[in-house]
Symmetry: C2
């Protein structure tokens, strides 16, 4: 499939269409071109997208794949006139659900609309502010309010994971580096001691860590493989001693790390 375009068309942000479409496309050994067309909420805009789809069909000589999440049936009908293979992600599942619930759907656009005033949304914004203020051990004030405290050596993935937990799940995630001074003392930072039950560790292969640190501080002792091996070994021994669970971030994405932390430490956040 060298020349095939996939369109993600939505009357909202198109994030659902693209997230879902990508997970389907990941099942195929193919790298199609991606085009996201958000906020397609008028017939005019729909006709414009149809022209784009038909143009791609013509120059590529293949039907574009068109993932749509369109609530408005008039807009959907216009898209279906295109020369693409239209995969209607909404109605496919809405019909069996209407039957099951015994109610009709309300054809409301977008999971994100009007969300900006909901408590859930306010909590996410507050969690982002908390995680930023408690990044990299910047503050030990208010750690009692943290949902999770990530610990690990510098560059083990704590910061992106904290921000992801805050942004996607409204989790107040502080993070604390484990540094050589902690290893010499043989204890976790004293400000964390009362909160061990909500600490979670990230570790990382020493080779991978050295690679990441070399990009930041080439040729430094900090980045040397010997030092990375030392820090990783000491950090793992400390977490073991302190009874802090951990996982390795080496082969995991932020999404996988965050989901594992929730499952192990805050299973309530996977049920609500």
């Amino acid at each position: 499939m060298p020349h095939r375009t996939v369109f993600f068309v939505s009357d909202g942000t198109g994030i659902t269409a693209e997230t879902f479409g990508n997970s389907i496309l990941a099942q195929f050994a193919a790298k199609p071109r991606h085009v996201r067309r958000p906020f397609i909420d008028t017939p005019d805009k729909a006709h414009q997208v149809v022209r784009e789809i038909n143009h791609a069909a013509e120059i590529e000589g293949r039907r574009p794949i068109v993932f749509v999440t369109l609530v408005n049936v008039e807009i959907l009908a216009i898209l279906k006139l295109s020369k693409g293979l239209v995969l209607d992600m909404f109605n496919t599942f809405i019909e069996p659900l209407e039957a099951e619930f015994g109610i009709t759907s309300n054809h409301r656009v977008g999971r994100f609309s009007d969300i900006s005033k909901s408590q859930e949304y306010t909590d996410r914004i507050e969690a982002i502010n908390f995680s930023l203020a408690h990044d990299d051990g910047q503050s030990s004030k208010n750690l009692a309010a943290a949902d999770v405290i990530l610990v690990g050596v510098s560059r083990s993935g704590k910061t992106p994971t904290s921000l992801y937990l805050a942004m996607q799940h409204g989790i107040k995630a502080a993070n604390y580096p484990l540094i050589p001074e902690d290893f010499e003392r043989g204890r976790i930072p004293s400000s964390l001691a009362p909160f061990k039950a909500k600490c979670f560790g990230l570790t990382i292969d020493a080779d991978r860590l050295a690679h990441i640190r070399h990009e930041r501080r080439p040729g430094s002792k900090y980045a040397s493989i010997e030092n990375c091996r030392y820090e990783v070994k000491e950090a793992e021994q400390m977490m073991l001693r302190e009874g802090i669970g951990w996982l390795s971030s080496t082969h995991k994405s932020i999404e996988e790390i965050a989901t594992t932390i929730l499952r192990d430490l805050r299973p309530d956040r996977l049920m609500y």
Copy 2:
């Protein structure tokens, strides 16, 4: 639907199942209980989830809804034995795509697996670091490397939007506050002047802004409605004068703001 549970079951993180399932459920006036069950990748774990589903069915007296993204057909078959209404999000669309592409799918688990070494993933992590280092005008070093520079009054939504753009799209998003000193001088900060073409403004209703600021600094001049009205008016006039496009964050989620910025400023990031 006071007592009905929706399960999101996946052999990966379950993020796709939940994102997609939520956008479908948003079409119904219903608040079911959510249960996400990630990493269900063995028959044992699948049987455990089936027991949970059947238990919910029994105590609620209704079929639970079960959104599944399961690549492994053996696991899927086990889930289908449950007493839930199983909505199979993968195979529903994989079959027409196999026909269209003329190839079979590879049944690979998860869009996030093995992602941690990809260039796209590395770019996201780098963008997060960039956005953090350039949050709230902290640094004007390296602004030439920014993809986007958000400007606006304090608490207009710049920080969460910057972090979202970085995390989800690998966009290096700096952000700069517009402050009373800028309004007195009548010009945007001089470090931004060479980069006006990649500036994007956020504005916000003065009432909403006063509410948000009051939560941070109750009773302050900073939070007063008069001051908020003044700052918002000055900021909008400045952006107009400087030719910087903007939108109002008042009724928009981070996701909607980010998608609009990409559409208007970096349409290339919606096509790749």
